[in-house]
Amino acid sequence: MSMVRQKRTIPGTSIFDGALARKGYALNKMCFSFNSADNRDAFSRDEDAYCDAYGLSDAQRAAIRGRDVLGLLAAGGNVYYLAKFAGILGLDVQDLGAAQTGMSKEAFKAMLMAAGD
């Protein structure tokens, strides 16, 4: 019996399941800590030390350093927690959308508008 359930593929979409929740635990735990303004300040003062304290993997650390949204997702980041990291950077969800789709922010916002037609 296989331990892995057959996963279906939805283009451009991942399902945050147990495998990703395990892989991303340290990264998500760090991002969860950003609910606190003091923790956000501590991260901003010394990013590397803050990542050390949460035990991020090399891939997670590289994605944090590179502000690489798709890399953060691939490293097990969950968008609800990553949104708190984006907040530190002053990025909104249109910035995140643009970064993930490779569009300019203006083009991404135009796409959102067009969905209402």
């Binding site: 945050f16 929740a21 609910n35 997702l73 969950n78 909104d92 969800v93 995140l96 789709t101 959102l112």
Partner: protein
């Protein structure tokens, strides 16, 4: 006995909190969204609820992946809003209804829904913003509240079928409470949107409108779908429509649509709003 008056379902995004804090209700971007609410205010004036049972999903304020309940019910005397990471001004605390909460907990567990019970619970924008949208002029939310949280963060999520059953049991539990309270159910989430992945920005107006209509005439319609089907059709966070479904299921018998609004986009989200009144 407690009486369920109806249900109000709405979308939530943190940016609504920023818009309220900045008084942007008449800004051209926000006006089509905020203009949906006056008819809801009129209905609330008419039905005068004492209690709001709020079905919502936490976004990593109260719950982390260390312990992730499928269904959680608040049982506190009050609930605090808090900074979710963006420094948006927080809203004042909410008054609980702990006796009703414990009645709901007892009844739901009796009916085989194995809940997590929370005597302390931070409530995030998904809980606080609908209440602010419904009672914008009150500094403190004027009704007592019971938070009911459904996991949409970490799979497996409860299926639509399961959320429908939970909502139905929740409604029956409320209706069996031996106190003449007037209760409104609020469902906060959806509609179609996707924040993450290369498909970010995805929305599906046709699916959303079909789902909204289904709640009136054929409320089990969406239970034919798995959560992965719903993600495919409505986006990764579109699965929050489970809050609407559980709300509808908590309403006894047929409902009348009092009001609906639908607008794309607010932030990255298709914003839906609906008021359903219990018929008869």
């Amino acid at each position: 006995m407690a009486k369920i008056l109806g249900g109000i379902t709405t979308s939530h995004v943190p940016a609504i909190g920023r818009a309220i804090a900045g008084n942007l209700q008449n800004d051209p971007y926000w006006k089509p969204f905020f203009d949906g609410f006056p008819p809801v205010h009129d209905w609330l004036q008419k039905v005068r609820p004492d209690v709001a049972v709020v079905i919502y999903n936490d976004h990593g304020l109260n719950f982390f992946l260390d312990k992730m309940p499928t269904f959680a019910v608040g049982a506190a005397a009050s609930y605090q809003n808090a900074d979710e990471g963006w420094g948006i001004p927080t809203l004042p605390p909410y008054t609980g209804a702990p006796e009703l909460s414990w009645h709901i907990i007892n009844e739901l567990v009796e009916r085989e829904f194995d809940l997590t019970t929370c005597q302390e619970m931070l409530v995030d924008h998904a809980f606080s913003l609908p209440l602010k949208l419904l009672w914008p002029d009150d500094e403190y939310c004027p009704v007592h509240t019971v938070p009911v949280c459904i996991n949409t963060v970490q799979y497996p999520l409860p299926s639509a079928r399961r959320c429908y059953k939970m909502g139905k049991a929740l409604g029956e539990a409320i209706a069996s409470w031996d106190d003449d309270l007037r209760v409104v159910i609020i469902g906060s989430g959806g509609l179609s949107h996707q924040l993450d992945g290369e498909r970010a920005g995805f929305m599906n107006k046709n699916f959303d409108l079909a789902f909204m209509e289904s709640l009136i005439a054929d409320p089990k319609w969406v239970t034919q779908y798995s959560n992965e089907d719903i993600v495919e059709k409505a986006g990764t966070q579109g699965v929050e429509l489970l809050m609407w479904l559980a709300t509808r299921a908590a309403l006894p018998g047929p409902v009348r649509k009092v009001h609906a609004n639908y607008h794309i986009p607010i932030s990255n989200t298709a914003a839906g709003l609906m008021v359903m009144e219990v018929a008869g």
